[in-house]
Amino acid sequence: MAKEKVQLIVDGKRIDGRTPEETRSIRIEAGILNEADGSAYIEWGGNKIICGVYGPRECIPRHEASPYRSIVKCRYMMSPFASLEEHGRSGPSRRSTELSKVIRETFENLIISERFPNTQIDIFIDVLQASGGTRTASVTAAAVALVNAGIPMKDVVSSVAVGKAGDELIVDLNKEEDNQGQSDVPIAMSHQDRKILLLQMDGLLTRDEIAKMVEMAEKTCDNIYDMQSAALKKIYEKGEDENIEW
């Protein structure tokens, strides 16, 4: 029922002046929290998200523990002040429950959890400011935080949403494009073996459009991967007592 009220594409440019395949500005910082085993901060357009990773640590409650692997837990949460509209409700919502699940399932593919039986790995994601594309920004940040925590993974994942607005296929939807555009397809892709690890979609699309969109996402994920690895390298460039600014 996403009907366009405003013209989202004028003369090939989007409302924020971007071209269809251009992403918003992205800044990633790794290792920003002092007490977490791994952490990351991401500023992606108007999104501000922190991610902290704890573990592997004792699995609580214990009956959830597995003697075969570490249990991956993920909590995605949006702050009540994260959107321009009314004060949101704190605590889990139906939306955040679903997002926590799909983000967890993204990382269950990557984490070599067999190495840590009877433990759990916690991924905490807090959205402080939201402006469209928080789940993909969260996945991108959580991947950095997990590497920062030294948790062995088979691959690194990067994520971006592709979509359709004004009958054009676009990369990295902002809030207006997400709310009023024709379709939104968040995708996360692993860097080495090019597997789709997160995939959701709403709107109406043809098979050919989806094929094109996956290619666009793949290209963008490559660029995001470079930013993720740059953020991680930066930790080793700083002095022992220096903190990462964020």
Binding site: I71, E98, I196, D202, R207, E218
Partner: protein, 263 residues
């Protein structure tokens, strides 16, 4: 975080049998890889609701019921009615369902079905406008009554069937007159979903519970006659080629399900 009761682990022998039959090109229950179990739909099963349908795929049964109420519209869409989808994984339906508030699988099911119907633009929510600050709200409740695998497709089938069976209530002086109707809800587009799982590199349509339990990857694709209207990947990973191939399969089996709704 809300991990649900796990299914009993499939015994190694049962798993071996499943995998060796797959190598022969057949499934555990004798179906081909792209075959649905027998599906059927009964409409108008709940007389107290404005629309309802009981869908059955194999032995999985989901009841969908539609009720209307008057509501305040969302501030960003003041002239449009509201659709709210809820699901109930009844503990009677499966040992893995527990009483209490909806768990993540239940919430996810409701949201995936909701997205398919919303994206398909099959309901004219503008016709739900009553007066300023008052619109009709369509409540779609999905009750999983018996779960032997693939409740998502069964729920989507039930939901779409119930909507084709829905009467819009008559509204007088801003109030719903119960038992009197303004006319049937128009449904020109029929969104249905197709769930597929990957086991040992093979993709299977409409998984039974044992297949769901050993699946490496699970993917649900919602289709209308012409478009893909929703996608949701659950566990696992897939390649772009697998995705496109599965979209083709989803259109094919989606059309079978649509024919069942049309009767």
């Amino acid at each position: 975080m809300g991990e649900e009761t796990k299914d009993i682990i499939l015994s190694y022998i049962r798993r071996d049998v499943m995998e060796s039959t797959l190598e022969k090109g057949v499934r555990f229950d004798g179906r081909g890889f792209d075959d649905y179990r027998k599906a059927r739909v009964q409409k108008s099963v709940i007389k107290t609701a404005e629309g309802s349908a009981l869908a059955q795929i194999g032995n999985t049964k989901v009841l969908a019921a539609v009720k209307f109420d008057t509501l305040t519209p969302f501030p960003d869409r003041p002239n449009e009615g509201v659709m709210i989808t809820n699901s109930e994984h009844l503990p009677t339906a499966s040992p893995t369902f527990e009483p209490g508030p909806p768990r993540e699988n239940s919430i996810e099911m409701a949201r995936v079905v909701d997205r398919a119907i919303r994206s398909a633009e099959c309901i004219d929510v503008k016709s739900f406008f009553i007066e300023e600050d008052k619109v009709l709200g369509l409540f779609l409740d999905l009750y999983v009554l018996d779960h032997t695998g693939n409740y998502t497709d069964t729920a989507n089938l039930a939901a779409t069937a119930a909507l084709t069976n829905t009467q819009i209530p008559k509204v007088e002086d801003g109030k719903i007159v119960r038992g009197e109707y303004a006319g049937p809800l128009k449904m020109d587009v029929l969104p249905v979903s197709t769930t597929m799982v990957k086991i040992n590199g093979v993709w299977l349509v409409d998984p039974i519970r044992d297949e769901e339990n050993v699946a490496e990857t699970a993917l649900t694709i919602g289709t209308t006659e012409k478009h893909v209207c929703s996608m949701q990947k659950d566990e696992g990973s897939l390649t772009k080629d697998e995705l496109l191939n599965n979209i083709d399969i989803a259109f094919k089996s989606g059309n079978q399900l649509r024919n069942i709704i049309k009767g």
